[in-house]
Symmetry: D2
Subunit: 300 residues, 4 copies
């Protein structure tokens, strides 16, 4: 088996370093800086020839910059003789547009995914990537082996231990979050339910738990993939409390957190909002390093 080395792009160096430590494998430093016209410079400080290389680069906040850096480094790794390039993109932006909702729109997921493959990526790992409607088929058609890992077990476990949840219930803030709620619930031995919208008349829509599940007096853990402006999470916290929940803890994998999302979620009544380090943030209490380490262990 080719020897393994871990590299971190400028968006994810601390996470890459943790993964290398966890796998007890080589960490190769990448130097990056910018020229006055905004052009990125990068240099790999180590030997990659004949090795399997893991490049960790998340795509938060300035996705175009981090993606271009990813392309530049992967192409260089192949030029320098890397045997295999395994991309780890913990937060994958450009997953929204997996369909042309309106004529003339870009189909970003396809374009970005294709570029990632064409530039030399042999295998890809992402975390709690939200493939809407058509995403899965679109990605399959491009033919890059992709693994969608989940941080939901880590989040569930952390919330349970840190906040000493008692007999908790896990709540998904909408139907698409059912997948996340199920995993977190399983990990902590809890029941789960997700919120659904029900039309109750021509002019009224009601959001409520899909199944009959009594939240009265319960410790509720709400889980979702992303908290961006916080609207969906605020809504879920509000409903959980209206339904009689005793305590509410909110958790997400990717804490994008714009427009004071954190305070909004707390003001809505959540005791805390927790996230992971796929997106470095002040609430990145949980590192996804363990799930990446587990997934890569067969290579080390």
């Amino acid at each position: 088996m080719a020897s393994l080395a871990i590299l971190g792009g400028s968006s994810s160096q601390p996470l890459a370093y943790r993964i290398a430590k966890g796998l007890r494998t080589e960490y190769i430093r990448i130097e990056t800086r910018k020229f006055p016209d905004g052009e990125k410079y990068a240099r790999i400080h180590g030997n990659v020839e004949g090795k399997s290389i893991v490049l960790v680069q998340s795509m938060y906040h300035r996705p175009d910059e981090y993606l271009m850096e990813y392309f530049l480094i992967v192409d260089t790794l192949k030029d320098l003789g890397a045997k295999k390039v395994i991309g780890v993109i913990p937060y994958f932006a450009y997953a929204r547009q997996d369909h042309r909702f309106n004529p003339g729109e870009i189909l970003s997921l396809k374009t970005v995914f294709k570029l990632i493959k064409d530039v030399g990526t042999d295998e890809l790992y992402v975390i709690d990537m939200h493939r809407h409607r058509m995403g899965d088929e679109l990605m399959k058609s491009i033919g890059l082996p992709t693994h969608n890992l989940t941080a939901m077990r880590l989040l569930g476990r952390y919330a349970l231990d840190r906040f000493r949840l008692e007999d908790p219930v896990v709540l998904g803030p909408d139907e698409e979050a059912e997948q996340w709620a199920r995993i977190a619930a399983e990990e902590i031995g809890a029941e789960y339910v997700c919120l659904v919208k029900r039309r109750i008349s021509d002019r009224e829509v009601e959001t409520r738990p899909r199944r009959e599940l009594d939240l009265r007096g319960k410790d509720v853990l709400i889980v979702d993939d992303i908290v961006s402006t916080g609207g969906t999470m605020v809504n879920a916290v509000t409903i959980a409390l209206k339904q009689g929940a005793k305590r509410v803890i909110a958790a997400c994998t990717h804490p994008i957190l714009v427009e004071n999302a954190l305070v909004k979620v707390l003001e809505a009544g959540a005791e805390a909002l927790i996230g992971t380090d796929t997106v470095p943030s002040p609430i990145s209490y949980v590192s996804v390093a363990p799930v990446i380490i587990d997934a890569l262990r067969h290579l080390a």
Copy 2:
């Protein structure tokens, strides 16, 4: 011949619009905005099927953002049935690294150029792109037909007319600028010369005109491809004045202008610094639209 339409990416909409007007051809608007996580959205508001499409997108200041947008739009154009995509990238960043000067460095020119081709560009136009040492061969090996237009005639003509230069001499600030000086000089019927460094002892280097060319009492027009921090231009202005020039006008195609470059050039004694709209700037007095219009006229 397929009908022609001009589109402008978010870095170059005014220039694209001028080109469309000049060619009396269709201008198709692209709508762009960003999602809260920084992901770009774009939508083409017009029909591109079966047409030859010119996409104008310069790469100044935030090259990664503009380049990613370029990729997303070109791939979409091809999906939507465009017959041919002609890229116009007036300022082409990522031209510096056309060689690995140190082990492990990225070879950006190659990677970027390859991505531009692979994503669906059929032909490329750039302006006064500076290919150092190996650039030309590198680009040839990728096989994307590329035309390097020049703004030097426009700059020469503008300087002559606007500043009423009398019997001027054109000066290139270093040996690489000889190509630009020659063209500008030809246009305005002047002689030209470039500065060279000459080692005069172990510890001293002298910069002076390559050939014997008397600048005393002359109107001197200095031309270069880029003014970034302004160091090279300041040096050339200083030398021209030391050699006795009466007036000095400085000109460049790409006014990147960082770190107060404009004031530095003026403080050195230049009467003015002029540039083009490949990089929108307060000194973009000259539009490159005419040279692009000329180059594309056979398509219209």
Copy 3:
């Protein structure tokens, strides 16, 4: 009379340099840079003791940064013995909130104006500053002598000459622009009119010229203080053309130009949009240096 020196803050060095040249007076360079935590460093490279100092610093794009730099430099000038500090703030942001439109709102004009005075400004020059409703009284109450210069004569003259307007009419895009239209019209010997909104029924509002003024077959010059997103200007261009104008040229003092405003104005049918260098931009064809030079000449 104390001797005079001109300084430019980092937002307006080229303009300050032009003013110094025009007044044939001393230009003192300010060095600026940032520490890694974003803190600004500045150093004045020249002697200011006993002198009247003109500090030019516009407030576009990053007004907070330029304003803080202004405060830091003015306080330093006074510490270093400057006899008098004359602020020139060509584009004055924070002029919008001159009244609390809703309870709890900041009254930015008052706070900013008070800080400018308290930090040591003895006299202030601004250009085409838009004082809404209460601005004038608010500013008077603070007691800092302020001169509101206008670039409208320069804009009118430039448009007339550059576009060879024939028997032109000047149009203000709304009632607040009447003041600007009047001045520009006077300069070029034209008539002027401004657009007003007229309610023609419960549900319809019509925008049309206030007075009967036939635009049919006319060259129309539209002038306003600011073009920001371009909405107001686009509307005015559209109406002028609907009323039969032959040619339309748009002009503004402060070309803030966000969200592709330039292309929008051109697409609406304007032949050109021109602006000044109070806000450096690709359409800053006109420098306000002459009006500032005139206003300061009594000090030189």
Copy 4:
């Protein structure tokens, strides 16, 4: 006693919210956004008349923006009848220049401190603010009552508990850090020492612990006020390990963290780097809310 309310500026809303919760007092929301020209808008959503108001606003990353917002809000609070305004500026930028090291330099600490007072601040709380040489006297001369709280006890306690340090030694990376090392050491019942530079010949400087203190086999906790580029901390970690330390934990109050400082500190051999939420960051494990709550309790 006037009733108390807590407000958070846009840099510190989550921290302000925690303080309000801890004091069981009113939290008043401030709405903020920007106009297209970069001008800030803010509105206070609550009644402040006759109350003592605590405004929490840290000054990291974009200090000018946060400072201007602070000025605008404080002036508004006073206009709206607040009885007293207590500023809490957890990270205070502009503390560096407390002296003109070179002629013509700005004396930022004085200017900023004076503006904070003049705009209406009655009392100020900062955290581990580094007053160099002259800072204290400069601040005293301005006459704004200021309290410099410390996060060192919280950091010491957190490191001890979280990393189960055994018989630890606290190390200050330079002489100025002795004050922080002493407090942290006291809290966890440890000895402390700081590093000093000693000239051992004309050309050699040696950095070593000031007193004889054997680090061999010890758990070492390094504490400093700021980690910015990380140079000082990397140096201290390296020396501690050279001196034979068994484990090294690094801690700071203000994790500014630029240029990959976190990875550099880890690569040097620190087991972890921990910081507080004065500067929101991925290593802000410790909240300074408790020390602020304690300091403000007499007002609640």
